[in-house]
Subunit: 299 residues, 2 copies
Amino acid sequence: MSVLIVGSTALDSIKTPKKENPRLLGGSASHAAVAASFFSPVKLVGVVGKDFPKKYISLYQRHGIDLRGLQIEEGKTFHWSGEYEVNMNNRRTLLTELGVFEKFTPHLPAEYKSSPFVLLANIAPALQHHVLDQMNKPRFVVADTMDLWLNIAKEDLLRLLPRVDGFVLNDSEAHQLTECDNVFGALKKIHKLGPRFVIIKKGSHGSILSSPSGHFICPAYPLANVCDPTGAGDSFVGGMMGYLATARGSIEANIRKAMIYGSVTASFCCEGFGLKKTTTIKRKDIDRRVKELQQFTRF
Amino acid sequence: MSVLIVGSTALDSIKTPKKENPRLLGGSASHAAVAASFFSPVKLVGVVGKDFPKKYISLYQRHGIDLRGLQIEEGKTFHWSGEYEVNMNNRRTLLTELGVFEKFTPHLPAEYKSSPFVLLANIAPALQHHVLDQMNKPRFVVADTMDLWLNIAKEDLLRLLPRVDGFVLNDSEAHQLTECDNVFGALKKIHKLGPRFVIIKKGSHGSILSSPSGHFICPAYPLANVCDPTGAGDSFVGGMMGYLATARGSIEANIRKAMIYGSVTASFCCEGFGLKKTTTIKRKDIDRRVKELQQFTRF
């Protein structure tokens, strides 16, 4: 089955202690779509400007991503610039030029409206609502978010949560949302806001799922060198949704393995700037790391 | 088989955002010994002053801990006072009164010298050396440490590492020792200093083992409320050594499960001030949480 992914499609200029990288393909939807594409067909919804490089359109196409929902508008593509600190865990935004993203309204092509799996990747909650308004009873909807929306659109986000099956956020966002500095305490509080499946991402420490059948402690794949973690969270949730869309059986029966696949896909993302590494791998590379992760966690 | 444990035996005054607790039983050896006692007989080596409360001697005895190696000297028991920050992950020392600990030289009773399992809990590396000098070919020796010894006794510590089978330290200490801010990079560097088994503790994020047969990602037991993490690391390594001492087969075959048992024992430690919670539990409580952790990690 296919996954519909809506989010930002952007150009990212990423500075780390080691290197600068101007105008890489980025954005939550780009990372999530490429990650999901290893597992299932992807339908992308986003917006870019006329300046969007053709090579990035080709990149999406090489991953079999359906681009009928990608709007190409007069103006400039969303440009984000950020810098990582030495420990690669803390990110600081240097610049945000919204461009055509400022007036983005996601219009779903007719063929998209009955996609069973929907990933509302990081984007304004109002736009996440707007996508759901156009959908025809999807089977499983997951939303991601970021601290910005907790700061400027918290009401929209709180109205969204009862409309989604799963909600994904990182540990500092969970703390900000719940005022609870303990991950397991925060999970309880977030369930009360609506979603049955809540996942808190902890960067290199992995992630934690809280679901109707209990907790799952999902490890991160061990990396001795992290090049650039930008998009790792989007890759995680994209890979997870891609895997879920192809798996037989209930969501509950598959979500743990789906998180492991997402976690491994995210590990490749961290090994190159932007999507540079992720776009060089094959499904078999992911499968190999999943097997390793099984070795690393059995007891 | 029995575990010999040497380390500090202290009175801890622990301040957290929620409560103050004067003169609890503390010290690395106390926490490790109580944790190990759920699994195997423990021989304690330490020093206390004449002021050491009789109720704490009784506490050790209730856990079947062999106290022939506990020296009771004229003077005051080592007193440590510390404060935790709001997130309960960062600790700040307020006061250290060494008392009789200042001139402590561990003397091993004859019956202790052929203990097969030796835990050199956190204590000055020179004293850890002194214990090893008295041992008769132990089967498996593990050393723990703290940032203080990296600051003031690094040479002693570096000379110790080739003498031990296993070395346990937390992530910030690993960073300090190796100048590598990535856990998996640090593990590689620490192996080169001598130990075959290296474990980096990450507090609520669990711990990572690097061993001849690869990595093990050991989860922490999920706690929605942490009361006081003092001694959790000592409980972890104590529980691990206690489990190893009773397990049949090779260290390699048992160390993962031993870490899980250590991790669970440490979770109880975090739920009360000092040893308050740990001293109320039974082995069956530990076994129950180990089963839960299996549920929380299978995929």
